[in-house]
């Protein structure tokens, strides 16, 4: 019916074209509407008193003085909110044997991390609420704390959750092939223990929520800075006992999310309860300090891994133990074990070997909860694998490109199943490797490195291949019992004036969801993009769907829009055929005009069809009911995930006297299948890479022995800033998925997935002549100087 998707020369061919995001102009003019900007009539402001203890019993709470302060409307404790909110537990059925303690908005009798919200104050403004916090007295009795992985695992370690037998949340094991045998007969074995620091998302807009309960209507409206409004509609409905149809969640502009804003936070649940108790809108915006101690953290893994190779450098087997420390409980509703699960399943993914064993142990400790944050598990799996590959290459005297070329799954060998059980439809490691080699002028960089070393300048070159998980099916959460949709829905209408409106369940966080959906709709229907209006993020308006996370917006949301638009086009052409006395198949739509499919001669504007259908239906043949609104849902079938792949490279310089590292240039060759908007894809890669570079060199949540976060401010937690970040060179290989018509896969995690691995390899490459190695992320000056024995 329509021209091939790749053809960019026909009218309205937007798929594959770099067009700016229509909705970005508002943001550039300072006209964004973020939840933190929102003011409603009679709105009050919440603030929270937080625990200074990492683990303590709450003996008493005295709120009398706070309640008496002028301007204070409500002071609520755990007991107050427990009366109206049911507890939640962050486990999923498909993670067999995992445990977690039930949670309430505010604790009843025990705090489990320093910074946990204990008492809520609602006042006329935030300043008064904070004044009131100073007047609240809480008596605590310290309980033993657990703040490191080893301490938590020791026999006789104090339990994070009293009554539980150990501090283990979840254990999992994979064992495929004959691992022991492979190691026993290997010509070479490389082994290392890696550590990965705790990171956090540090979105520029902190978490923000305005809950507005109208007791007269029994209706809850929540303006929520989140990626997943439908998930929260379901949760607010179920935990506060309000019928789903009377819960509306609106997710407008959001100042960054990266996975961080799709989890349940105690404060957010509390704010809903506070609004219900008061019958007034209540706003809460986390301040930056609160963000650091209450947003989810991620990573915090320690991985011991070894790799067996034959004499020629063929990888034979890997054997892995991943220990990861989460918070005192597992995050709801997506749990805190998905990252570890993805680490052990993604390790070794680019390579051909068959023997794999991995053990995952997820451990509780008295710190803030961890959960899914951009590129869940990928950076760890990638760094472990790619560092071991480089260590093997060095042992065997092979070039890093050569050992990878020898071991990656061949591009013509798909489909393949990884030793960890993932099914790959089609990947392009070989093509990507070749392209990167040329793109980064690898030989030139090596020659320059040799020259500079003679002058005492230590440059490093690192590469890292990766596999990324995108387009998740119900296998991700649905099978575990989570009410998190893997399908999406779209409602596409031809408006009376001949424009198209698309309401769709995927959401916008700035990556360009609305732009690419409008590109797909315009392309598939045959009209100019500016005549397509896309609406997202309001459960009262947009159909229920998974929304945007785990790289599903373009692949699943895009396919939903494509199929919905094709259906609308069929309906429009049916009416056009009746009016024009033609067969629908003889007609097409170009630039908003119905045309003869063969000659492209204009027949009538679609606006005219809309006019007739909406206002002069009497002129249509009897029995005709024009359907100019189509609602359509799409759930991925076929492969449980659409895997993507790519390879990154970087060049950097280590100052061996100071331990400071200068990133010189970064490269990526990436294959996300069909590229809908190349510019937006490239900017996803750049942003993702810089998040990975931040992790590589700067970011780490550092805790004291008493469980206090020691660098919980934007002056102390080092995020990547403009001056230290390199320019990034990008190239693409396109291997579309055949599971959808669109062929698109995700791209949001690709940059973050391998950037830190790349830097780790490059730093080790730079230090190699000095006999120093680094096995820990972030790579701080202290670690470099220690490795070099400079102090």
């Amino acid at each position: 019916m329509s021209a091939p998707l790749t053809s960019l020369d026909r009218p309205n061919s937007y798929i594959g074209r770099s067009v700016p995001r229509p909705n970005a102009k508002r943001l550039l003019a300072g006209r964004g509407r973020y939840v933190s900007d929102l003011r409603l009539p009679r709105m009050l402001h919440a603030a929270f008193l937080r625990s200074p203890h990492a683990h303590a019993k709450i003996l008493s709470i005295n709120t009398d003085e706070a309640r008496a302060l002028e301007g204070v409307h409500l002071v609520a404790t755990g007991a107050d909110l427990a009366k109206i909110c049911t507890p939640w537990t962050g486990t999923l059925d498909h993670f067999k044997g995992m445990t977690s303690a039930p949670q309430l908005p505010l604790p009843l009798d025990r705090v489990v991390w320093a910074g946990q919200a204990v008492v809520a104050v609602v006042a006329e403004n935030r300043a008064i609420a904070e004044d009131a916090l100073e007047l609240i007295e809480v008596d605590y009795e310290d309980l033993p704390i657990v703040v490191d992985i080893d301490g938590a695992r020791e026999a006789g370690s104090p339990p994070v959750n009293p009554g539980s037998a150990s501090n283990v949340c979840f254990r999992s094991q994979l064992d495929n092939g004959t691992v022991d045998d492979a190691f026993a007969h290997a010509a070479h074995v490389v082994e290392e223990e890696f550590s990965f620091g705790r990171h956090t998302a540090v979105t520029l807009e902190p978490r923000a929520i305005v809950a507005d309960y109208d007791p007269a209507a029994g209706m809850l409206t929540v303006h929520h800075g989140t990626q997943t409004p439908y998930q929260f509609q379901d949760l607010y409905s179920r935990h506060y006992g309000i019928p789903e149809a009377r819960v509306r969640v609106i997710a407008t502009d959001i100042g960054g999310s990266f996975g961080m804003k799709l989890h349940v936070y105690h404060e957010d649940m509390a704010v809903v309860g506070l609004s219900i108790l008061l019958g007034r809108p209540v706003k809460y915006v986390a301040d930056r300090i609160e963000s650091f101690v209450s947003d989810i953290h991620a990573r915090d893994h320690r991985v011991r891994a070894r790799m067996a190779l034959d004499a020629k450098g063929e990888i034979l087997a890997m054997d892995v133990l991943d220990l990861t420390a989460i918070g005192a409980f597992s995050t709801y509703p997506r749990t805190s074990v998905v990252e570890g699960n993805q680490v052990i399943r993604l390790i070794g993914a680019p390579y051909r070997f068959r023997n794999y064993r991995a053990t995952l142990e997820v451990i509780f400790q008295n710190k803030v909860q961890t959960s899914q944050y951009r590129a869940v598990g990928h950076p760890i799996a990638c760094a472990v694998t790619e560092r071991l590959v480089d260590m093997a290459a060095s042992k065997l005297g092979l070039d890093p490109f050569a050992i990878r070329a020898q071991n990656v799954i061949a591009d013509d060998a798909y489909p393949q199943t990884s030793p960890t059980g993932y099914r790959f439809e089609a990947l392009s490691h070989q093509a990507c490797l070749n392209r990167l080699h040329e793109l980064m002028n690898y030989e030139g960089l090596r020659a320059e490195q040799v020259d500079l070393r003679k002058r005492g300048v230590y440059r490093g070159i690192g590469i890292a291949t990766f596999v990324e998980i995108t387009n998740p099916s119900p296998a991700f959460y649905g099978v575990g019992g989570a009410r998190i949709s893997s399908q999406d829905g779209a409602i596409v209408s031809l408006t009376p004036s001949g424009e198209v409106r698309c309401l769709i369940s995927v959401t916008e966080q700035g990556q360009g969801t609305e732009a690419i959906i409008s590109q797909i709709v315009a392309d598939q229907l045959g009209l100019a993009q500016e005549h397509v209006k896309v609406i997202t993020g309001d459960t009262e308006v947009t159909p229920h769907g998974g929304a945007t996370w785990a790289c599903r917006g373009a692949g699943i949301g895009g396919e939903t829009a494509l199929q919905a638009t094709r259906a609308l086009k069929r309906n429009i052409l049916e009416i056009a055929a009746l009016i024009l006395q033609e067969q629908p198949s003889a007609l097409d739509i170009i630039d908003g005009d119905v045309v003869d499919a063969g000659t492209r001669n204009q027949r009538m504007p679609i606006a005219e069809i809309a006019r007739i259908a909406y206002f002069r239906s009497d002129t249509l043949p009897p029995g005709t009911q024009a359907q100019l609104t189509v609602s359509h849902h799409f759930a991925p079938q076929g492969y449980p995930f659409a895997f993507t792949n790519g390879i990154q490279g970087c060049s950097l310089e280590v100052d061996v006297d100071t331990g400071l590292i200068k990133l010189l240039k970064h490269f990526i060759v990436e294959d996300c299948g069909r590229v809908i908007n190349p510019m937006l894809v490239d900017e996803q890669l750049r942003g993702g890479i810089v998040q990975g570079l931040g992790a590589a060199l700067f970011e780490e949540c550092r805790y004291s022995e008493t469980g206090q976060l020691m660098n919980g401010s934007l002056a102390d937690y080092l995020v990547p800033m403009p001056m230290e970040m390199p320019d990034i060179v990008i190239a693409h290989v396109e291997t579309p998925t055949a599971d959808t018509e669109l062929g698109a896969k995700g791209v949001g995690e690709a940059g973050t997935a391998a950037a830190s691995a790349c830097v780790l390899n490059a730093v080790n490459d730079a230090l190699a002549p000095l006999g120093a190695t680094i096995n820990s992320i972030p790579i701080t000056p202290a670690k470099v100087l220690k490795a070099l024995k400079r102090f």
Partner: protein
């Protein structure tokens, strides 16, 4: 520009409060030094002067400080201006960090300050932060307080009992503690004019541009040929106060600047510096970095810097 937040935050959790909006206070905008001093005298210990506010405002917002009265001194004309006075450059306390970069008199007669200025935080903070405020706060990780030591500057102070000048060497006492008495404010800093036979060098090691340095250093030497007649070297981010390294200076004064002397000066740092415990930068590492930086800067000085 917030100082030592990490350590202060930990103690703030001990106070069980989380804040981002300041406690209530009163505000008075002074038109003259006398008005400012008078207001402070009458309000007592609970008053604070505010100039650029780039450190004080966040300290107020986080409720690390909670004065009853804030006395705004930014509209006092007497505190402005840069000009020559005898053998000195008088830098008014309200001179903004950005003016340290743009003012030709600073570039000519106090080039060490001009060289240090781009390292002070970020452009927008330099637009507002003041030289006098930075010296008064005496953050041990800040560039300017340390440079007053290297420059042998004198700090002019106005207070209830009149006006006085204090040598930079006598000004910095302990962590955020200076010769300033309650109710006193800095009116100007006097810097000896840069001379033809002098050389200077400045640099710092920081993980990110504009961050507080892991270690930083500035120096001013007086030369006859390659012979060092005199040199003053001052470090920041090495302890509780900006720190002159007199042992290193002694190793250099009266000698020719060569590799051997540089090594001797580096060796002397161990006696000059006692870096504090820190989980991120252990004392031995900071001392190592100070040696590296000193070596690099002396090397530049040798090249005529």
């Amino acid at each position: 520009m917030v100082t030592n937040l990490a350590s202060r935050l930990v103690s703030r959790w001990d106070l069980e409060e989380t804040a981002v909006k300041a406690k209530a206070f009163s505000y008075f905008r002074a038109a003259t030094i006398d008005q400012a001093l008078d207001a402070h005298a009458r309000a007592g210990d609970d008053a604070r002067f505010i100039a650029g506010g780039q450190s004080l405002v966040p300290a107020l917002s986080l409720r690390l400080q909670a004065p009853r009265l804030l006395i705004d001194i930014t509209h006092i004309g007497e505190l402005r201006g840069v000009g020559r006075e005898g053998g000195y450059l008088r830098i008014g306390a309200l001179t903004r960090h950005c003016e340290m970069l743009s003012e030709p008199l600073i570039a000519e007669f106090a080039p060490l300050l001009h060289a240090a200025a781009p390292f002070v935080a970020h452009p927008a903070i330099r637009n507002r932060g003041t030289f006098g405020g930075s010296v008064a706060l005496a953050d041990p990780a800040s560039e300017f307080p340390a440079m007053t030591l290297a420059l042998d500057a004198e700090i002019e102070i106005a207070g209830p009992s009149g006006c006085r000048r204090v040598k930079a060497d006598d000004f910095f006492i302990d962590l955020f503690e200076t010769a300033l008495q309650p109710g006193e404010l800095i009116t100007a800093v006097y810097v000896p004019l840069f001379k033809a036979d002098q050389r200077f060098a400045f640099d710092e090691l920081a993980r990110r541009r504009g961050d507080y340095a892991l270690v930083g250093c500035g120096m001013l030497g007086t030369f006859t040929g390659e012979h060092i007649d005199d040199i003053r070297i001052s470090f920041f981010s090495v302890g509780n106060t900006p720190t002159r390294v007199r042992g290193a200076e002694r190793a250099l004064i009266g000698a020719r600047l060569d590799a051997e002397r540089i090594a001797a000066a580096q060796g002397a740092l161990e006696g000059d510096l006692a870096p504090p415990e820190s989980d991120e930068v252990p004392p031995a590492m900071r001392l190592h970095l100070a040696r590296v930086l000193l070596g690099r800067l002396l090397g530049r000085l040798g090249e005529g810097a």
